[in-house]
Structure formats: C-alpha cells, structure tokens
Symmetry: C2
Subunit: 242 residues, 2 copies
C-alpha cells in the first residue's frame, strides 16, 4: 500500500507551528504568560489534550515554561534558572558565580565575507561588533568578539552595554525583543596571541579554550556570531552528555 500522505503532519504539530509563529511575531513577549490551555484549545478548535501535547514539546525545547497553578510562560533569559544554560564556565571549586561583563567597544560595520556567510546575510549588510571582557572574582577570564545582525539592534551602543546590569541575552530580550533560542558551539584549544594574553593577564602562548558560537532566534535565524577565549586555569567548560 503506497503512502497516501507523505506530508502527514499530526494536529498537535500544526498547533505547535501556530504557537511558534505567534512567538516569532512577538504576540507574547519573553517572560509573559500565554493563554491557558483551554483558551488555546478553543481558539484552535482542538481538544485540550492536543494543545497540551504541543506545549509539552515546546517546553522540552525550552521555548515555553510551564508553572503549575500559574500558567505557561514564554521562556526568557531573565529567568535565573535558565541563566547558566549558555554560559558553561564553572569554577574548579567553590560556588558558581555570575561574571562581571566589561564592554570595551561597540562598533557598527559592514559584514565581511565570513560574517555574512555565518549570519546568512549579504556581504556589506550592517553588523555590530562588540568586544568585551568577562571577569570572575575580579579576574579577567574570558574575552569575546561578538557580531550581531545590525538591523535587529537599532541604537545599541557602548553606553547601553555599560549601563545594563544583566546578561547580554537578557538585554537583547528586554530592549530589542530578540530572544536567542539555541546555539551551536565549536571548541578548540589555541595559544594566546600577544593582544589576548595582555587582556587576560596571562603569558603569551598560554593554552586558551576557543569557543565559537552561532546563536539562533526563532525560526532558526542566526542572529549572532561570537568567538570567546577562555582561561581555564581556575575554571572549566562543563558539558552534559546524554
């Protein structure tokens, strides 16, 4: 028997993509609550169980957060519980500690070949370049170069970065409505060049952990490309495999 519907898609997946589109369109902002299951079931003309299954999957993907008795919320980097999902650097011993971000530069530029390819934009399109240092316990531990899609962050400048006492991704959400949903990282070990060594207070040639990241917003749209150099003497990069 031939498959009659090669594009078969269950109802709950369609609901999922409808909710996904609502998220993309900004109908509900990060941290805000979405309508209750019964309301959504009425809106989409399906049973509550079908909405439930759609939401379950989106919660598993960290797009939504369920809180019994309160409602379902759009996931946000403001939530401290999800705060260390993207920063994997842990101290060798002692309690985890939020780093202090020290922005150095915030420049507007035109995308070169490589940045354009990674972000999926045209060469020459506007980008923003941020350079910063992260300090743990007052010690410079990470330096980062961050490229952003220029059109998505109008008005972003060094002053804003310096004022903001929250994580970068929190700032992006609150100020620009841009939520980073997932990211891919590539890790390598490299030797510190002169400039990096100076900023990090280590000897030239010291082994550093290079972390390249592409971060995606809703719809798998690449919004950010960054490269970090981590000093891993007092810290390590933590990863869970399962």
């Amino acid at each position: 028997m031939p498959r009659e519907s090669p594009t078969f898609s269950p109802l709950y997946r369609q609901i999922k993509s409808l909710i996904g589109r609502a998220l993309e369109s900004g109908e509900w902002r990060p941290g805000a609550s979405i309508p209750s299951e019964v309301e959504l079931a009425q809106r989409f003309r399906v049973s509550q169980g079908t909405v439930r299954k759609a939401i379950d999957e989106m919660a598993a993907e960290n797009l939504l957060v369920r809180r019994q008795g309160k409602g379902t919320f759009v996931a946000s980097h403001d939530d401290p519980r999800t705060h260390f999902r993207f920063l994997r650097l842990m101290p060798n011993s002692g309690a985890v500690e939020a780093p202090l971000s020290v922005p150095l530069e915030c420049l507007r530029a035109k995308a070169g070949q490589e940045v354009a390819r990674v972000l999926g934009i045209e060469p020459g399109a506007p980008v923003i370049l941020i350079r910063r240092v992260l300090k743990f316990a007052d010690r410079p531990t990470v330096i980062e170069e961050i490229y952003l899609r220029g059109e998505a962050f109008p008005g972003l400048n060094l002053a804003i970065l310096k004022e903001a006492h929250r994580s970068l991704y929190s700032l992006f959400e609150v100020r620009f409505g841009v939520r980073m949903v997932r990211a891919e990282e590539r890790l390598r070990a490299v030797a510190a060049d002169r400039g990096s060594a100076e900023l990090l207070g280590v000897a030239e040639g010291t082994a550093l952990l290079s972390v390249e990241r592409i971060a995606f917003s809703y719809g798998d749209k690449a919004m950010e490309w960054r490269r970090g150099l981590y000093v891993t003497r007092e810290h390590f990069y933590h990863n869970e495999l399962s």
Copy 2:
C-alpha cells in the same frame, strides 16, 4: 492548606522507576525490545496512557527508543544513530568519520584516592586502566586514559580491546552488559607535555583540548573516569546549547 502528601509521586513515575529497575537488573538487554505498551499496562495494572507517558519520558532521556510499528527497544550504543552522541569531535571540513581506536595498554590496578572518589568506590578497590590512541584519517588525534570499575568488567584485557571492531561502549554492552547512560565532561585547554606530544605527533607545548569525563550507568552509578587530550587543528569539539 498544608500539603498532605509531600512525597506525592504520580503513577507514571512509579511505572518509570519499575521499568528503570527492570533495565538495571538486565531483564531486557541493550538493543532488545521490551514488552508492548498493552502488555506493560496489564502487568502494572494501569492504563496504556500511563505506560505511554512513562515510556515517553524514558525515550526523551535516551534510555529507550520507540519505533512505530515495531516496538520499544532498550537504547544501545550499537545503534549508529546514537553513535556520535558521546564523541563530539568533528572535522573542520568534510564528512564525519569514525575514528580508529588503537589500544596501547590494559592494566589491572588498585584505585588511588582520586579515582576512588570519582568512581565512588573504596581506595584500593580493583580498577582497570586503559590507554589508547584514536586516529582520524590515519592521524593520531586523541589520547585517552580510561579508568573502569574493575569488578564490572571481568576478563577485560588488551587482546579483547584489539579484536573488538566496535566502539568501546558497544563492547561494554555486548560483552559485559554495562550500558553507559549519561556522562559529565569538563573541558580545559592545556599545553602538551613531552609524552603526549610524541604520541600525538605535535610539538611539545602545543595547545590541546583536555576532556575529562565521568560516565554513569543505570542508577547514576559512575562506571568510568577518563581523560582525553584532543588535537584541535583539523577538528573541533561540537556542542549544542538549547
């Protein structure tokens, strides 16, 4: 109103832990199929939906694998689809390629302080130490020191390692019934010492990616501690954040 049942646990969680215990006890071996949902529902005296929810969660945790029309199976490292979940080294360009494992040593020893602590065993308890090299495209790229709980791998020796043309974790499953369920890794950048540099064919002092791993079997029992040193000139360590 005070909580009357602070230890409230839904039915499906109890089913989950029953299935989990059956897995631990080896009632169903890795790769084998478990009873159908209706059978399990009858056995546990619950509805099929409740069994379903339990299995759903265990599939999400990579303990079980569902295959529509065929049944539900105990997850296995033999399955090529899950083969690269624990080996995160990818080539800078070109297709992914399985490495060639070259075992160098396989020794029986007594656990020292550190290994005992990590594996949760008594100092002096038997352990196995394996040293090996992984080659990609005929180039040594990774060296590893692997400590195993001695009592769980009776008879393991260098000859067995050399004969086995499968991944280490596959071997553990097929030969010893030990399945690694999850692992924690700590990554750092370090400089190559003389011995490592020689084995890897790089200059002394070259920056290497140090990957420490603790691997756990069912019941979160630490079975393995390993440290790898990766050459990251032609490869990178890949990670997904979400």
